[in-house]
């Protein structure tokens, strides 16, 4: 089964990473979206998403890297159905 890892705190991505499979997904939300603006936060995971509304809220949408696909809330809901389950790594 493939999981969508929801990360809302920038410090938590590295903690969850050892458990994330190549075919799992990572979705950055809330404060964690700043990771999408940095080229140092690249992972082995093929499905990297960042919540567009949270990037806009923080004024950093135009700084996000191409390796993170921007998704809005409707896509967020769809992603939770595309993946078999969602794991919010607090």
């Amino acid at each position: 089964m493939n999981s969508l890892y929801i990360i809302n705190n920038p410090q938590k991505l590295s903690e969850a990473l050892p458990f994330i499979g190549e075919n799992d997904g990572i979705l950055l939300i809330e404060d964690a979206v700043v990771l999408a603006t940095s080229d140092s936060a690249q992972t082995h995971c093929k499905n990297q998403f960042a919540l567009e509304e949270d990037l806009i809220a923080r004024g950093v949408k135009d700084k996000s890297q191409a390796s993170w696909e921007l998704v809005d809330y409707p896509r967020f809901v769809e992603l939770t159905l595309t993946f078999d389950k969602s794991i919010t790594w607090l």
């Binding site: 089964m1 458990f19 389950k85 794991i87 607090l90």
Partner: protein, 121 residues
């Protein structure tokens, strides 16, 4: 077959109540006969340290409940051995629970992948 759940302890006691409140979820899931895996990773391994004495700070000690997990039929208890090494801890520092399994991140990864629910707090 009932849905399975992984409960991930990744925060130390007693600076946060996460361990305590995750334990309550684990016990409730056990009452519903869900297959449960308790996973200790990151600073969560400190939850299992023996000889905790938070009562000297007037804080309730919940570590005895970890010892009782097998009594609630929670027998899958995985401890991330990388986390133990990272914090300079050894198996002797932990509560004497026969069911503790010291495993690699890959074992935890596959258990998480194969569960229906995974909770952290």
């Amino acid at each position: 077959m009932s849905k399975s759940i992984c409960i991930v302890f990744n925060k130390a006691p007693y600076g946060s109540q996460a361990g305590r409140e995750l334990l309550d979820i684990a016990l409730m899931a056990a009452a519903f006969d869900m297959p449960i895996t308790a996973i200790f990773t990151g600073q969560g391994v400190y939850q299992l340290i023996n000889n905790q004495q938070p009562d000297i700070l007037n804080i309730k000690n919940h570590s005895a409940t970890f010892k009782a997990l097998p009594l609630y039929d929670i027998e899958q208890i995985l401890v991330d051995q990388n986390a133990l090494h990272q914090f300079n801890l050894s198996q002797n520092d932990l509560l004497g629970i026969d069911e503790l399994q010291y495993v690699s991140a890959d074992v935890i990864k596959s258990r998480i992948a194969n569960s229906d629910f995974v909770l952290t707090l």
